[in-house]
Symmetry: D2
Amino acid sequence: MMVIMHETATEAEVAHVVARVEEVGASAHISTGERVTVIGVIGDREQVTQLPLEAMPGVDRVVAILRPYKLVSREFQQRDTVIDVRGAKIGGGHFAIIAGPCSVETAEQVLAAARAVKAAGGKMLRGGAFKPRSSPYAFQGLGEDGLRMLAAARDDTGLPIVTEVMDPRDLDVVCEYADVLQVGARNTQNFLLLAELGKVAKPVLLKRGPATTIEELLMAAEYIVKEGNRDVILCERGIRTFETATRNTFDVSAVPVIKIASHLPVVVDPSHSAGRLDLVLPLSLAGVAAGADGVLVETHPNPEHALCDGPQSLPTAAFGEYAGRVLDLARWAGKTTV
Amino acid sequence: MMVIMHETATEAEVAHVVARVEEVGASAHISTGERVTVIGVIGDREQVTQLPLEAMPGVDRVVAILRPYKLVSREFQQRDTVIDVRGAKIGGGHFAIIAGPCSVETAEQVLAAARAVKAAGGKMLRGGAFKPRSSPYAFQGLGEDGLRMLAAARDDTGLPIVTEVMDPRDLDVVCEYADVLQVGARNTQNFLLLAELGKVAKPVLLKRGPATTIEELLMAAEYIVKEGNRDVILCERGIRTFETATRNTFDVSAVPVIKIASHLPVVVDPSHSAGRLDLVLPLSLAGVAAGADGVLVETHPNPEHALCDGPQSLPTAAFGEYAGRVLDLARWAGKTTV
Amino acid sequence: MMVIMHETATEAEVAHVVARVEEVGASAHISTGERVTVIGVIGDREQVTQLPLEAMPGVDRVVAILRPYKLVSREFQQRDTVIDVRGAKIGGGHFAIIAGPCSVETAEQVLAAARAVKAAGGKMLRGGAFKPRSSPYAFQGLGEDGLRMLAAARDDTGLPIVTEVMDPRDLDVVCEYADVLQVGARNTQNFLLLAELGKVAKPVLLKRGPATTIEELLMAAEYIVKEGNRDVILCERGIRTFETATRNTFDVSAVPVIKIASHLPVVVDPSHSAGRLDLVLPLSLAGVAAGADGVLVETHPNPEHALCDGPQSLPTAAFGEYAGRVLDLARWAGKTTV
Amino acid sequence: MMVIMHETATEAEVAHVVARVEEVGASAHISTGERVTVIGVIGDREQVTQLPLEAMPGVDRVVAILRPYKLVSREFQQRDTVIDVRGAKIGGGHFAIIAGPCSVETAEQVLAAARAVKAAGGKMLRGGAFKPRSSPYAFQGLGEDGLRMLAAARDDTGLPIVTEVMDPRDLDVVCEYADVLQVGARNTQNFLLLAELGKVAKPVLLKRGPATTIEELLMAAEYIVKEGNRDVILCERGIRTFETATRNTFDVSAVPVIKIASHLPVVVDPSHSAGRLDLVLPLSLAGVAAGADGVLVETHPNPEHALCDGPQSLPTAAFGEYAGRVLDLARWAGKTTV
């Protein structure tokens, strides 16, 4: 950590910062430039972080030297994390299509979607039983009934299930059915939920929130890993910007940025990023070309009758062609797709 | 709702949209321009909302005519909502300073802050016992012990307590002590929590999330009001933008925009908006001048030793001068400050 | 255009809007819902646009039905525009790598870069002679001397030259040397410059500004095309967002969005989007996979000694490998690369 | 400047950076932490800035210690700059309302607006003769005829004229008539134009662009001041964000941030920030409360017939009441308003 003092800072102010730094057991190195003094702080991260250095008189700003996360960093673990979900692998060269309807509506709908996903080479089935909705007047999901329908589709196809958990109180029931626990974009920084998920023996798919920086996403993953659960898949699904042609702005750079900074697998969600059916394929391909370990995508037997996100869902009838392109590009990029 | 068809849409596609609209009991009015056909849809909001019109062939886009919220709108209730918290009023011309430390640390610290707030003309005491922190390595709050310290400060000063609830599981214990339940910026769209708060007989202070639009904030308030709790205070605390001179960008326009669209009281949080002590006063004044019903601000007896947000906390020693300016401007703006 | 009236609008206010609309020769269709009246306006775009409908009493908002651009739209011209620059084609299935140094520094430097670009399969040479710089203390370019060095490199390699023009007063001298005139991201909405470029018989490469929407970019292109110059290449180079891991956020969605809305060729600039060398290849591949017609990329014989943008420039020694990957993916995507 | 090396950087890489730093005459101080080495660079700003340190092997990132601007900084000049425009003062405690129509349309219109501005206590008249418009199909301004109409209104009222210059080629003719030269939000970083304005003996009103950071705005002002023209007024007029309730997001924090960092006067433009008439007064008041030295606002005798920005223009009939509130608050804030 470096403390940059104001041009007008006095010697007493510099001495005061040094004293406070040493008080917590860290050491301070003063470097005096022509106009500005900089104090390098070396010591235990957790102690130093708690010092409100910016509140001290004469301090202009504080610059962090080290990343604020540790366990999820590439420095901590060089090799890629590979996650095995009932035999379906993701990360470290293994690529996965994770697909299904936005929300579970009927047993038939889920089954039709699951079979289409399986036939097209998808590795996991996604579907929402507990749905967060911006409007209190919108469909809120089937709850445990939906989970049972997902389990039935898993029995039929062998595809492991990815489903969202929104509330720590639902964790037990969701864990009973799910293979991968999804954290939605509105809960990326729901730290209580993250901490609970860190104690569970199931992989977590953590979505980036629309206003979450990549660094904050990695810190959210650190919350989970710190509690003992090392199987976290990160997901880029678009950030909020001024552009209105797409629902969110798909930040494809997040894929290589995360792959460089972390050993965790990264997938992209082109359906929620754009909110437009006609962009699902090009954005999926962009994500794969940028290095993603998988795509999370919505497909529905009859999008026009979907209770949720119909406009951006691929019809299952077109899913085979979509998946064919995506998997072909993944292989071009050197990934294993089976 | 208006459905705008593509320039290339066929008559059959137009007829199909009309048929689907009528299927749910709504009516459709076709208006054919030189190049484009527009279908006006009139009917029950909830039914029409669930139709995935944008997924239908030939549809270019759908434009909402009505606001997506109802109970919180100015159309639904013309007069301002006034909220009375143990005699402290806010809204409808009543102005309130709500102040205290970011997090409760010791009984002495809270008491010192509370007395300074009281002496300066503040109406409520704020303080965090359950703290959401971006980093799992940061101080996470004292929990129920913190709530007890807040209650002791209330006993001493008579100031009602505003404190955050993060988890539905903590709701009972927080309600035992708190007078106003705060929803933090990371939970603005935690719909399960909002629905629970809608069933509680205590006012809620709902913060805008850093990527939440004003419309979404009003829809989040609707979640609470829909369940029966009509006492919601909205809070602007900065949004995420590209500007880095401030931690967030304080969207002062949100104050008049909300006052025009809704009857609910609005406060501003200059401490979290900017993350800079030297901006707390000017941004408070900006908020008041724009029409805010109050300010939510951090003050600490010794910011340099604060465990949380020290850099942006007003020292209690300076609080009287700060509050004097703010209250004077509130009176200039026509507000009652006692 | 649709005029949505306030819920409280009077009949007289509706009649007034209709009268003003008819005054300019357009026609108005009233559609009265349960709570709100909507007035559809049909007529000549240019006349209607000039009516300040939103300033009229009782009007809530105005929704545009038609796109604000015409000549650059896919509706106006179905087939892709193919641009031929001294035999180097781009658009309509033709893919081009356009590469070279950020700024022209010496004849040797440009020549070395040009030869590397040529050897690797690049189609055009880029290089800046007139440089816009955020800081008045930074290197501002060599001006006409730089143009001469570019021309010498063209003579040697046969690669056409792409170079920026910043000022209408420089247009003549730049046209003397350049084959494609580049408009930088700070001039995307410099309408005077655009109008001048519309009168020139050379293709224009128009960069998207960091706060320009896709629709505004297309309207900027319309400024050029309207004056007679139909050869415009659009370029995505990152937008301003809250994310700080990259210099800008590369909006890869812009590629398919533009390809759907317009017939003009689109290229991506991964160098300026990210400002990081380690992201140049993955973002180039993302752009190509999303459908781009080319990449605009910086390469320098010795980035460490570059006077501009060294940190994001590919060393020419590594350019062959980079270009090999990019061209291979372009072919996978069905493009012609020669 | 601080160069932060990668955790994996070798001693040779550190030595190489040091060698390059010393090559340009600066000095390097190595500070070695447990995991990371930091190199402090002290020396001439301009030389060091040109070193592409981030391109050197082993370098993680470079942190600037000093601000990139100098002449406009508060460190360079402690006292506020006061600008005197034909006797109308702004800055250093002097407050000014600058008002008039978005674009000059007729002699009568300008004169009516000027008289209303004068009567209400405004100090300067604004009006556009050269108009930048997003659409090539919109009204582009009257040019020199418009300037003549402004001059006539000045003759009548004594109000100095503020008008935009878009093109260096128009500078002579605009200077013939104008008292203050306005740089529009699309030209904030048009460095050629800025440099020309630096050589003119008239004050410049420099608007912040919608994607310009405060630091970049100050650097743009530095371009002007560096050439000799020290009379620059900065203007906040809204930035691009995800919020759609307002046309731009009025960044009121920019006012105190600039006042702390610089000695130049700052005004706010509530008309363009929000694009909504009902927000003009509250945002004006917010700006004044935050410390602005003036407001730049649109008023039109008949907004409904305006050729430009009618929806956000105050009718001149209501201007007196508006200006009364604004000037009263300016006096509350300690400003001189005459």
